[in-house]
Amino acid sequence: MLSRRTFIKSALVANAALLTNPSQALQLVLDNAQGQPLLTLADEKSPAAKQFITHVSDDNSSLGLDIGVQFERVKQFCSESPNGLISGLSRDSDFFVIEQLAKDYGFYPSYSANHIQQGNNLSHEVSASQQSADLIAHALAQAGEQWPVWLAHNTQLLPQGHQPMVASKSQIQSTHAAQDFLVSWSLSAAKNT
C-alpha cells in the first residue's frame, strides 16, 4: 500500500499558498514554502476536479474551455521555475495541450493517470515509473470516492523523475453512477532529474 510516508522519502509536502487571477478563471497554486514552486490546474466543471483543487488550497477557480488562456502563465512558470512542478486534474485535451506546450520548456510528464468512471465502475489507469505505478494505482483505489483528495495531498510526492513509464490499473465500484473521463498529471523539468 502506498502511504504518504513512502513518498515523503523522495519529496517533501508543502503547504500551498494560493495566488489566483479571477479574470483568467485559473486555479493557480504557487508554493515556494519548501523550495519547489507548484502550479496546479484543475477543470472547472468536473466535481472531482473541484474536490481536488479545494484540497490543494482553500480557494476555488479553474480551467475553462479555452486552455489557450493559460499559455502565458504556464510559459512564465516554466521559464521562472526550472525546478517547479506543474500538476493538474483536467480534461484529457487540456492535458494534451499543456504537455505539448511545456515540452518546449523542457518539462515532461513524470506521472499521469486516466480516471474513468463508467456507471458505477471507477478505474484508474496510471502511467509512472516502474517503482511507483502499481503503488499509485493501488492508493487511488484505496482512497475510494476520495481519490481526488488523495491526489491533492500527494501531488508533490508523485514521482518526478524521467524514467521510462509503465502502466498500472486499479478499479473499484463507486456508490454513485456517472460518466466521466479525467486525467491527473504532473510535469517537471528533465534537466532537474
Binding site: Q100, D104, H162, Q179
Partner: protein, 522 residues
C-alpha cells in the same frame, strides 16, 4: 529503444554531423535525448507507431546564416532534415518527420515580427511567430489590424500557410493572403520571391508576382526550400461584424444550404468562408459521447436526436459572418435571411441569444481572428481522443456535399466510428474535414482508424475527389491519386526536387515528393 538513425547513416557519421551542428548553433540548441527532449517532436495522434516517425535529433537555429551552415553539413553527410516552424501540425503529423531518423529543423526560435504596416495592412514574420504572438503584438501596440488564425492558435503563419491551412475571417485562405517570402535552398542560396528581389524594394508584401514565374507556391506543401520569412496580408479592423448561425433540422439540408450559399459567396454577400458543421462536432464542444451513449460504435440516431434537442443544435449547424459598416451589414443580412429562411425549420441564432454557448463563442472569436484553443475540447468526445483529418475538396455544390458526406459516413460507420465533420465553403470549393477521432491509447482503434483512412482515400479518388492536405502516413497514397497523364505532376515535382536538392536532404517524402535515391521505396 535503439536510437533511430537516418537511413544509410552509421552512428559514427551521425555523431560527427551532430558535433558539427553543435558548433554552429551551440549545444543547447541541439536535442538528442529520446526520452525527454525528442518527445517534443513526436506525433501523439499517429495511427501507427511512435517509432515510425521518431526523429534522431532536432536542431533549433536562430538565423538564416545558421540554417545555411546546417544545410552544408547535412549535405556533406547526406542526412535528411525535416523543417517545421511552430510545429503544431496535429491531425496531419504534428512536428514529427515523415520517416524515423530524420533531424528536425525546428525554426521556433526565429520568431521576429519584422514589420507591421497598418496603412497597407500587412506583416512580415519569421517562421516561429505564432498566431498568439502577432495578435498580442497588434493588441499591445493598438494596431487596428486583424489576424486570421487556424482554430488552434498555437500554430503560426509560416507553418500553417506552408501546409495550405485555412482560417475563418474573410482572409481565411492563407496562401492567397501570403505575399513575398524568403527561402533558403538546399545549397544555401537565399532567394526572395516577387518584388523583394528588386533592389531597395518597398513592395514585397504588397504585390505578389514581380516579374517572371511566381514561385512562392513551389515552397509550400513541398521540400524545395526552407522558408525563413513571409509577408502576410492582414485585414483592417472593420467598423462592424455580425456573426450568425443557422441550425438545420435534416440531414438533406446540407444539400440545400450549400447550393444557397454559393451565389452569396461568389458575390461577396457573405464575406468569410461559411462552415456547415455536423451535430457531433458541435455537441462535442460541450458534452462527451458517454453522456449520451455508452454502447460501442457510432451513436444511434435516437441518441443523436435527443442530444440535438438538449443542446439546441441542428443536425447541421451553419456559421458565417458579414463585416463592414452597419447599413451594408443590414443589407447583406436581409438577403441572407431571405435566402436561408426558405429551408423548412431553419433557425437563425445571433450573439444576443447564443452567447455563452461553447460552440458559438469560439467560432465567433475565430471569425474575427481572436486566437484561442477551444476547439481542442472536441477531442474529449472520446476518452483519450486523438484524430487525423481526412480532408477532400469538392465543388461548393449541394449534390457533391451529400455524396461526400454519405460516402464518408457510411464507411466510418462500417469501421465503427462516428462521422464528425464540417464543410468550409471557400471561394468556389469546399474543404470537407472529416475528423477521424479515436482513442489514442487504444492500439486496436488506431489500427482501425488507419485502415478506414486508407479506404477513404481510394473511395474518394474513385469518385474524383482529392485531398487538400494529409497526415504523414498517407502522403504517398494520396500523391498516387494525383496521377493524371502518367503521373506528369509528380514527375514535375521530382524533376524540381532533383535539380534543387540533389542530395535529397530537405524533408524527403513531404506530400509524396521523394529524392531520387528513395523514390518508389517508401
Amino acid at each position: 529503444m535503439t536510437k533511430p538513425l537516418p537511413q544509410g547513416i552509421s552512428l559514427g557519421q551521425f555523431n560527427a554531423a551532430i558535433a558539427e551542428i553543435k558548433q554552429v548553433v551551440g549545444k543547447d540548441y541541439v536535442f538528442l535525448d529520446d526520452i525527454t527532449e525528442l518527445r517534443s517532436y513526436r506525433d501523439a495522434y499517429n495511427t501507427t507507431n511512435d517509432a515510425d516517425f521518431a526523429p534522431s535529433a532536432a536542431v533549433a537555429p536562430k538565423t538564416v546564416e545558421q540554417i545555411q551552415k546546417i544545410l552544408a553539413i547535412v549535405n556533406d553527410y547526406k542526412i535528411p532534415i525535416w523543417t517545421i516552424s511552430t510545429g503544431k501540425n496535429f491531425a496531419y503529423g504534428g512536428p514529427a518527420p515523415r520517416k524515423a531518423g530524420y533531424v528536425v529543423l525546428d525554426l521556433k526560435l526565429m520568431n521576429k515580427i519584422i514589420e507591421v504596416n497598418e496603412k497597407h495592412g500587412y506583416a512580415i514574420v519569421e517562421p516561429g511567430v505564432s498566431y498568439y504572438d502577432l495578435y498580442n503584438f497588434l493588441q499591445e501596440k493598438g494596431i487596428k489590424l486583424w489576424i486570421d488564425c487556424a482554430a488552434p492558435a498555437w500554430g503560426g503563419f509560416v507553418g500553417n500557410t506552408s501546409d495550405h491551412g485555412a482560417g475563418y475571417t474573410p482572409y481565411g485562405d492563407h496562401l492567397l493572403m501570403q505575399c513575398g517570402m524568403q527561402v533558403v535552398l538546399a545549397d544555401g542560396t537565399v532567394v526572395e520571391t516577387g518584388m523583394d528581389t528588386s533592389a531597395n524594394s518597398k513592395t514585397g508584401a504588397l504585390y505578389k508576382y514581380g516579374q517572371g514565374a511566381a514561385i512562392d507556391g513551389l515552397f509550400t506543401q513541398s521540400n524545395f526550400g526552407v522558408i525563413t520569412r513571409m509577408g502576410i496580408w492582414l485585414m483592417p479592423e472593420p467598423p462592424g461584424f455580425t456573426p450568425f448561425m443557422i441550425t438545420l433540422e435534416n440531414e438533406r439540408d446540407l444539400e440545400t444550404v450549400t447550393d444557397l450559399t454559393l451565389p452569396l459567396r461568389l458575390n461577396q454577400v457573405i464575406h468569410n468562408a461559411p462552415m456547415t458543421v455536423d451535430l457531433l462536432w458541435e455537441a462535442a464542444m460541450s458534452v462527451s459521447k458517454r453522456q449520451y451513449y455508452t454502447g460501442t460504435g457510432p451513436m444511434p440516431e435516437s441518441n443523436r436526436q435527443k442530444m440535438a434537442k438538449d443542446l439546441d443544435l441542428g443536425i447541421w449547424n451553419y456559421y458565417a459572418a458579414v463585416y463592414g459598416p452597419a447599413p451594408m451589414m443590414k443589407n447583406n443580412m436581409e438577403i441572407i435571411r431571405d435566402t436561408f429562411s426558405t429551408i423548412p425549420g431553419a433557425k437563425f441564432h445571433f450573439d444576443k441569444t447564443r452567447k455563452g454557448d461553447p460552440g458559438w463563442d469560439y467560432r465567433v472569436k475565430l471569425m474575427q481572428g481572436i486566437p484561442n484553443m477551444t476547439e481542442f475540447s472536441l477531442l474529449n468526445w472520446v476518452g483519450g481522443g486523438g484524430h487525423i483529418n481526412f480532408s477532400p475538396i469538392s465543388a461548393a455544390d449541394g449534390k457533391a456535399s451529400m455524396t461526400q458526406y454519405q460516402m464518408i459516413r457510411k464507411r466510418a460507420h462500417e469501421y465503427n466510428f462516428d462521422y464528425i465533420g464540417e464543410f468550409l465553403i471557400g471561394w468556389r470549393d469546399q474543404h470537407h474535414i472529416f475528423m477521424l477521432m479515436f482513442d489514442r491509447m487504444n492500439a486496436e482503434e488506431k489500427k482501425r482508424a488507419h485502415e478506414l483512412f486508407a479506404v477513404l482515400v481510394d473511395d474518394a479518388a474513385a469518385l474524383g475527389y482529392g485531398e487538400y492536405r494529409t497526415h504523414l502516413s498517407f502522403m504517398d497514397q494520396i500523391a498516387n491519386s494525383y496521377s493524371w497523364n502518367d503521373n506528369a505532376l509528380w514527375d514535375t515535382h521530382h524533376a524540381l526536387k532533383d535539380e534543387l536538392d540533389p542530395n535529397g536532404i530537405l524533408s524527403p517524402g513531404k506530400m509524396g515528393i521523394w529524392p531520387k535515391h528513395l523514390r518508389g521505396k517508401s
